[in-house]
């Protein structure tokens, strides 16, 4: 049986790779992809903890098996989808008005 720690290490690696990408890439679409990687790492963490560490009885409802970890993961999917849709729409709008997709060139509001 593969232990919990192994999954958590993988998730941590994935998260840090995503973090590096989000910080270092210039293209806004790349940054968004890195954020997706980070969200995936979070999901992996949630599901791994659900698999190994949920109490046998759900605290809130008293149901035999709590599904909290999976439910949280589903909500992360929703957030990821909403984020991708709106984020990419913003990038397209930025490209249309400024002819660029480089993240740091959108700095009009910076002072």
């Amino acid at each position: 049986m593969v232990p919990l720690t192994a999954f958590l290490i993988v998730a941590a690696l994935l998260f840090c790779i995503g973090l590096y990408g989000a910080l270092a890439r210039r293209n806004a679409v790349s940054i968004l992809m890195s954020v997706e990687l980070m969200l995936n790492a979070v999901n992996l963490n949630l599901v791994a903890f659900w698999r190994f560490n949920t109490p046998a009885q759900d605290v809130g409802s008293g149901l035999p098996i709590g599904m909290s970890g999976q439910v949280f993961a589903v909500f992360v999917f929703v957030v990821a989808a909403a984020e991708a849709a709106v984020g990419l729409a913003l990038i397209i709008a930025m490209y249309r008005s400024r002819q660029t997709v480089i993240a740091e060139s959108a700095d009009t509001l910076k002072f």
């Binding site: 593969v2 998260f15 270092a24 210039r26 992809m33 997706e36 992996l44 599901v47 190994f52 439910v71």
Partner: protein, 176 residues
Amino acid sequence: MQTVDWVQWLAFGILTLLTIGSALAVVIDRNIFHSALWLLVSLFGVAGLFVMLSAPFLAAVQVLVYMGAIVILIIFAIMLTRRLMGLTEALNTQWWVGGITAIVTFLVIAFVLFQAGQGANPILVREPIAALNGRGVEELGKALVDPAQYALPFELASVLLTAALIGSIVIAREDQ
């Protein structure tokens, strides 16, 4: 029929290699379209890990939503904004700061994990999961609509999706 331990480790190794390797390729590859394809492979690896964690529903959703929808959305966005790509440097001027941050973060997490692993509270396999065998989806459905559990977030998800759809249509549409 018990699946052998080494089969599980083998599957875990392959999936980890897929996930981490292609995640690295996502952030390193200069061609943004290839980057998106590597993201695909990475997401597939995570789906496999979900299966190993006895969450097959999430694995299927991962393939359906992430690989089948979000990546297609990303590729469309790349095609729509492709005019200038490839002309510029892939990395910004502070890439080394980002790298150091990422490595330090990983070291901290790994340190904490090893600390926790050596503690007096060993993390064990939860047995009831075996009782869940095959009924995970139904349990998930019950938990989602149960007013005592996640009914409100469930409705809020609908609101979020509606807002995202309306917002992105307003933003992305060309002004007439």
